[in-house]
């Protein structure tokens, strides 16, 4: 007799097996449910990607992804972060070079909508800040360096504006974006490359002074003020982060 743990591992492996030949009909119901529920989860998180490539194509790639990388967190709002990279590595990316960036934008918006409701850092807090500190990035924040045409395609697809979509010229130059929801409404803001680098550095937990030194003292206060006004941070921590997180893409 199987122990419960062994039975569950064996059952899970059967549900995630790629072949569907000779599946007993009871097991087939669960296999279909798992694939259906998880692809639906991706469909809800990637609305523009879905519209861009169509339901059939989306489901085909989503199902492959679901079987290869099933969720590791019971909160399904967190499932799908790796899907844009999966699309970027797929054959589809050769035909639609902007596809993965549209998917990244979908994910950043989804992430912002489901991030914890947290007020942005009040700049007055810095008056009493310790000598050495680093910022805590707002939980809704994503920083994305995307192809410049991706945001226009994303917006046109979501609005189902085919005329506008047809008029978008390919542009693979880089648009540095921040996507966040610090005050209840979604913001997508394009930054200058220097501001983007500063935002990425500070939101990744690097200490303030060395980061500001890169752009020069005169512009530092203005740049920091702008990032604070965007609501980029939710707080400060007195010590510089010792183990730096991987910078977001």
């Amino acid at each position: 007799m199987y122990s419960l743990r062994d039975r569950q591992k064996k059952f899970q492996a059967a549900l995630l097996a790629i072949s569907t030949n000779e599946t007993p009909n009871g097991l087939a119901v669960y296999r279909n449910n798992v694939r259906g529920n998880l692809t639906l989860t991706l469909k809800l998180a990637f609305p523009a990607t879905l519209k861009l490539i169509g339901e059939d194509c989306f489901y085909a790639y989503a199902e492959q992804f679901v079987l290869a990388q099933p969720p590791r967190n019971a909160d399904l709002h967190l499932y799908g972060e790796a899907f844009p990279a999966y699309l970027a590595a797929s054959t589809l990316a050769g035909q639609l070079p902007y596809l993965a960036d549209v998917a990244w934008l979908d994910w950043a918006v989804h992430h912002a909508l489901h991030a914890a409701e947290t007020p942005p850092l009040d700049p007055q807090t810095l008056v009493h800040a310790p000598e050495s500190f680093s910022f805590i990035g707002h939980p809704s924040l994503s920083l994305l360096a995307l192809r410049r045409d991706a945001q226009a395609i994303w917006a046109a697809v979501l609005e189902e504006d085919d005329n506008r979509l047809a008029g978008i010229l390919p542009d693979d130059s880089v648009a540095p974006l921040i996507i966040l929801r610090p005050r209840g409404s979604l913001e997508i803001i394009e930054l200058s490359p220097a501001m983007f680098d500063l935002a990425l550095t500070l939101a990744s937990g690097f200490p303030l002074d060395p980061a500001l030194a890169v752009i020069g003292e005169e512009e530092a206060a203005q740049a920091l003020g702008l990032l604070l006004s965007y609501g980029l941070f939710s707080g400060i921590t007195p010590k510089a982060t010792e183990e730096l997180p991987c910078p977001p893409r």
């Binding site: 122990s3 743990r5 009909n25 009871g26 669960y30």
Partner: protein, 282 residues
């Protein structure tokens, strides 16, 4: 807290706007807990909670997992429950994944002494963390395991006895599983501990097709069948009245359609109450 035996509906995200606009006279609403762990929907739920009793019905706690429940998930549920103050919190006799994977489906549990001990341990842990009783719902199942030794209603009765949890009696799930496994639905109802049943669920089902031919599927995408209504009447006679919820998750109709089904359920609850009064008078 709703009237002890009132009908409510499952409130789903596409009905949020209509529900807030209509302010319908339903007794209470039930939501899927996981849909409100984050995001704008939580704000809507708080507005609904201001006027209606709310039941939190989870689908991701995986009480049947051999490796225990995910404490991060349990903590999220506690945060939500503390914020919403629901009158019921419930989950399923099921598991959703092994060794850290989550498959977003209510998977069938082998029913034997080892799984009973594990399930009870997980329920007790959940109740300890949440600091409240939870209800456990009988699942729909489409297969059984050769190592199972305990009938499902007996398993649920023992879980309730050992942990103090309550039970959801999902009438449609009993009907569907009885068909799929050749059980007798009335025998199932009689085997449940009536004092532990604190809620009924009613939903629609469909026959399976292609590789699922011969099975009934718990689809929640259509009206409640006459046979399930009849089994509900039987449950009211055997177990007695308690809150009942109309559950629709796919091919959602207009909100008014769900409210009509809830009204039908309320009529049956009221009829059972009058019948019980007559017995007392006689």
């Amino acid at each position: 807290m709703p009237a002890s035996a009132s009908a409510g509906i499952g409130l789903r995200l596409p009905h949020h706007t209509d529900f807030l606009a209509m302010q319908p006279s339903t007794g209470w609403v039930e939501v899927h807990s996981e849909n409100y762990f984050s995001g704008p929907a939580l704000v809507v739920l708080e507005r609904v909670r201001a006027d209606y009793p709310v039941s939190l019905h989870g689908v991701g706690l995986s009480l049947g997992s051999a490796t225990g429940v995910d404490d991060t998930h349990l903590e999220r549920l506690k945060v939500l429950a503390d914020r919403i103050a629901p009158f019921l919190v419930s989950e399923h006799l099921a598991w959703t994944g092994a060794d850290g994977t989550h498959l977003a489906d209510l998977l069938p549990l082998p029913l034997h002494e080892e799984s009973l001990e594990i399930f009870c341990r997980n329920v007790t842990h959940a109740q300890d963390v949440l600091k409240r009783q939870i209800l456990v719902e009988n699942p729909t199942t489409y297969l059984s395991f050769p190592e199972s030794t305990i009938p499902e209603p007996d398993f649920l009765a023992e879980v309730s006895r050992r942990t103090g949890c309550g039970l959801i009696c999902d009438i449609n799930n009993i009907f569907v599983s009885a068909h799929n496994h050749g059980w007798d639905a009335q025998t199932y109802l009689r085997a449940l501990p009536r004092e532990a049943v604190a809620e009924y669920h009613l939903a629609g089902h469909m026959p399976g097709e292609a590789e699922s031919a011969g099975l009934l599927l718990d689809t929640h995408d259509c009206a409640i069948s006459p046979a399930v209504w009849a089994l509900f009447d039987e449950a009211l006679r055997i177990i007695g009245p308690c809150p009942v919820m109309i559950e629709r998750d796919a091919r959602l109709p207009a909100l008014s359609v769900l409210l009509e089904e809830a009204a039908l359920a309320q009529t049956r609850l009221d009829a059972q109450a009058r019948s019980a009064d007559r017995v007392l008078v006689a």
